[in-house]
């Protein structure tokens, strides 16, 4: 069967991104990627994806628009509250036995997960011995994550999540509201380093006790998923924890054998310790 024009355009578009700007999306899961690229072309008023290719090649600054369009900043605080409850009950007590704890939040997008974990650590009395590394390949998202300003309409759902996660106070204790926005307490990021890191091309940069990477690898094809898992394995101390999104499957990844499940249903794993 002949290859459809849009599939040819997508291949050319991805090649342009890689060769001109060094961003390799070729190993992403194709269906979602295609959807995003088509949406990006529509939002830019293009009739075809070919129009995007020209702008990627010749228009300075257009690459940041592309990165915005191809990354997923959708998240919420304490999403899947039962995961945070499990982290508090089963993972934090182990981390508490170390005097210095490194935590890597990979693909942190707008930072909701970072601040959720920060609150969890604060309430467990562990925050001050933790160094959090929050990384993303999208600088604009990282900037927003550092700002920690979110639409106030989200606060209701996030407060419910926080309570369901077993939060000790009220989420409102951690933010100030003004007009239609909330801003999280700056103290929550006193031990957070925000840095650009691309799971597709970059390497190990810390020795972590916990890696949190939820709903990021679902956008990766099998090969890239395995690369990322290898990277997490090499970044984790023996016995370190890995937390993925609750619907993610690592069953097809060769590197999955290096991890054992702490809570299989909630996708919390530990490096080594295979019985």
């Amino acid at each position: 069967m002949a290859v459809s024009p849009d599939d040819i355009e997508i291949e050319l578009f991805l090649r342009a991104l890689q060769q001109r700007h060094g961003y390799d999306f070729s190993q992403y899961a194709p269906a979602s990627l295609k959807r995003r690229i088509v949406q990006l072309s529509h939002s830019q008023g293009m009739r075809t994806i070919s129009g995007l290719i020209e702008r990627v090649l010749y228009e300075p600054g257009f690459m940041s628009v592309v990165l915005e369009g191809l990354s997923v900043p959708v998240s919420e605080m304490f999403r899947d509250p039962q995961v945070f409850r499990a982290l508090r009950d089963h993972v934090l007590p182990v981390l508490a036995s170390y005097s210095q704890v490194n935590i890597w939040l990979a693909g942190c997008a707008h930072g909701q997960e970072v601040y959720s974990l920060a609150i969890l650590l604060e309430e467990a009395g562990l925050y001050d011995r933790c160094q959090l590394y929050a990384t993303d390949f999208n600088d604009a998202a990282l900037w927003q994550a550092q700002e920690a300003i979110y639409p106030a309409r989200e606060a209701q759902l996030w407060s419910r999540n926080y309570a369901a996660a077993g939060g000790a106070h009220s989420l409102a204790d951690y933010y100030s509201a003004r007009y239609e926005l909330i801003k999280l307490d700056e103290r929550l990021r006193r031990n957070v380093i925000f840095a650009n890191h691309n799971l597709v091309t970059d390497d190990v940069f810390c020795e972590a006790h916990l890696v949190l990477c939820r709903n990021v690898l679902i956008y990766f094809g099998d090969t890239l998923q395995d690369r990322a898992l290898n990277l997490f394995r090499d970044s984790l101390r023996r016995g370190g924890f890995l937390c993925l999104g609750i619907r993610e499957s690592i069953d097809f990844a060769p590197s999955a054998r290096d991890f054992s499940a702490v809570d299989a249903k909630l996708r919390i794993y530990q490096l080594g310790n295979k019985s």
Binding site: M1, S32, R35, I218, R247
Partner: protein, 189 residues
């Protein structure tokens, strides 16, 4: 269309009852994968699978990330995620923004299935209170697949099938009770 390898079903308000009838009428020997996207509002897809399994001889499972679509099995989209099908007929999930106020969105599933299965796909839109599925059904037809829409007059809520008729059109616009017999005929003959 060529002989169908997959059937994608979208429904919303009133969808549970409609699915019970449709899946209940399917021949368990059906040589096609059945993919379901139903906006339930419930966060527990396991309960939905259990409820549906009571009414059909086909196994009903949650569509798992990276798992393969299997013939003669009903795969249900998990709540909170969009369900997509890749070209190798395995499932992918996404947490992209809601489409038509929905996640999972029927349009997202249908568009990716149309890409993956081409002319070997049957798309079905049934009862529901929004317009999700109409654009996806148009994608399916554009790729050579077959479109079935529950007769709006027969639907518990007619908005969704009516939108599908208006935007995509139907090869068959029939009452709920006639859908499963038609599928059995199309897939087993």
């Amino acid at each position: 269309m060529t002989s169908p390898r997959a059937i994608v079903i979208g429904c919303s308000a009133g969808g549970l009852t409609a699915l019970e009838v449709l899946l209940g009428g399917l021949d368990p020997r059906i040589p096609a994968a059945v993919l379901v996207c139903c906006h339930t509002g419930s966060s527990d897809v396991e309960i939905l699978c259990e409820l549906l399994a009571r009414h059909t001889q086909l196994p009903v499972v949650e569509a798992g990330e990276r798992a393969a679509a299997r013939n003669g099995t009903v795969h249900v989209a998990p709540s909170g995620y969009h369900l997509l099908v890749e070209h190798d007929e395995r499932f992918a999930l996404s947490v992209d923004p809601k489409v038509n106020f929905s996640r999972p969105s029927i349009d997202v599933l249908f568009a990716s299935a149309a890409d993956a299965y081409g002319a070997s796909l049957i798309g079905i839109v049934m009862t529901g209170a929004n317009q999700d599925g109409a654009c996806g059904l148009a994608d399916i037809r554009r790729c050579g697949g077959l479109s079935i829409v529950q007769d709006p007059a027969d639907a518990e809520v007619r908005t969704m099938p009516q939108a599908a008729l208006d935007i995509a059109g139907a090869d068959h616009c029939i009452p709920l009770a006639a859908i499963a017999p038609l599928l059995n005929r199309l897939c087993l003959s």
